[in-house]
Amino acid sequence: MAGAGAANLLAPAVLFFALGALAGWLKSDLTIPDQVAKTLALYLMLCIGFKGGAEAAASGLSQDLIAAGGLGLGLSFATPFAAYIVLKAFGVLDRLTAAATAAHYGSVSVVTFAAGTEYLRAVEVEFGGYMAAVLALMETPAILAALIIAGARSQKAETRLRPTLWREVFLNGAAVVLIGSFVIGAITGERGMARLDVFVGPLFQGALCLFLLDMGLVASRRLAEAPRLDWRLIAFAIAWPLLSAAAALGASAALGLSLGDATLMAVLAASASYIAAPAAMRIALPKADAGIYLSLSLGVTFPFNLLIGIPLYHAAGRLVFGG
């Protein structure tokens, strides 16, 4: 495990993240142009979705896909309720900020998933292509759960922007590209994969490095500009992913998923959203403090998962599965 963990820390993608974080911390003028970052994010989602769809088409509609999809939906919907209770128990967050923060920990991070798949490929552990579909399924239920927690009555003004909210929840650009690419990958299968092989294959690692360089910059600047975070919230942002990953591994084992699928399920459960959930929370719960939930998900949980979490969840999976 120590060897795999050290190898993860020395992977190019992780080192580029560290470079970005260092540059941000030292207040370097390094920046990735906004539109480039957005294009890279779309490219990564296209690759993940397309490859996942093509692989799912090759393996067909399996029982594992249904089990993993059901588990993902359940985890995404249930997590915010449990996270909300814990966050409220700390007594440092108001109700709406606690609900919005809980939504982030139920929803998922595409880039953490991408880093997880690259890690598994590096240690030669197989996983189902359909996990990309599970990723897409897990984005939204957590947002709906947060709206239930917050209660519709408390957000009178939100009514006016409800069409915008539902559009953001179900038709945000990330979801459209991810799900759309999955469907295209599933329709075109091996023929499509042969045509896009170079675009979605060898170039992916380089794009991930460039994107993580930007994420390092964003994460360190976000943390530096964050309001002084209570130590209990920082502890939550590290301990909660560990608990979620453990729950996901246990449930995956009970459902008979493979080690690779279970590890990715743990990565998804442990990850915190920083694209889809913040966008929805800004519309649905505008009184919630974005400085808190973004700083925790992007400044604490994302680096933790990238540097330590992913190899740790894989190692824990090996213990559970006896691999």
Binding site: D34, A37, K38, A157, D214, R221, E225, A279, R282, L298
Partner: protein, 101 residues
């Protein structure tokens, strides 16, 4: 020079609200508007920055119209700002080609 008095609104809001505010300005009687993307700034919640993936970004909407239209828009905005972040400023301006405002 034939200059006519009008009111200029500068409305600073989150990106998701732009569509709703554009519709409101049209209903209030404004004949046109311009939307600008912002880079970074600071306000009552501290500094913020447009950083690519994690920020929805802020938008500056500028519209010029009659005093009546501006009052309607400001009444709507004062209700909107009860729930959502943002600021608005109104100033008296003089314009050429008044029929366009």
């Amino acid at each position: 020079m034939d200059l006519t008095a009008r009111v200029k609104l500068e409305i600073f809001v989150e990106a998701h609200a732009v569509g709703e505010i554009e519709r409101m300005l049209e209903d209030a009687g404004f004949k046109g508007l311009s939307v600008f993307a912002s880079l970074e700034g600071a306000g009552s919640h501290g500094a913020w920055r447009q950083t690519g993936v994690d920020e929805a970004g802020m938008r500056l909407i500028i519209a010029i119209g009659s005093e009546v239209s501006a009052e309607r828009a400001l009444a709507w905005l004062s209700d909107y700002f009860q729930s959502y972040p943002g600021v608005a400023a109104a100033s008296d301006v003089r314009v050429l080609r008044a029929d366009r405002f």
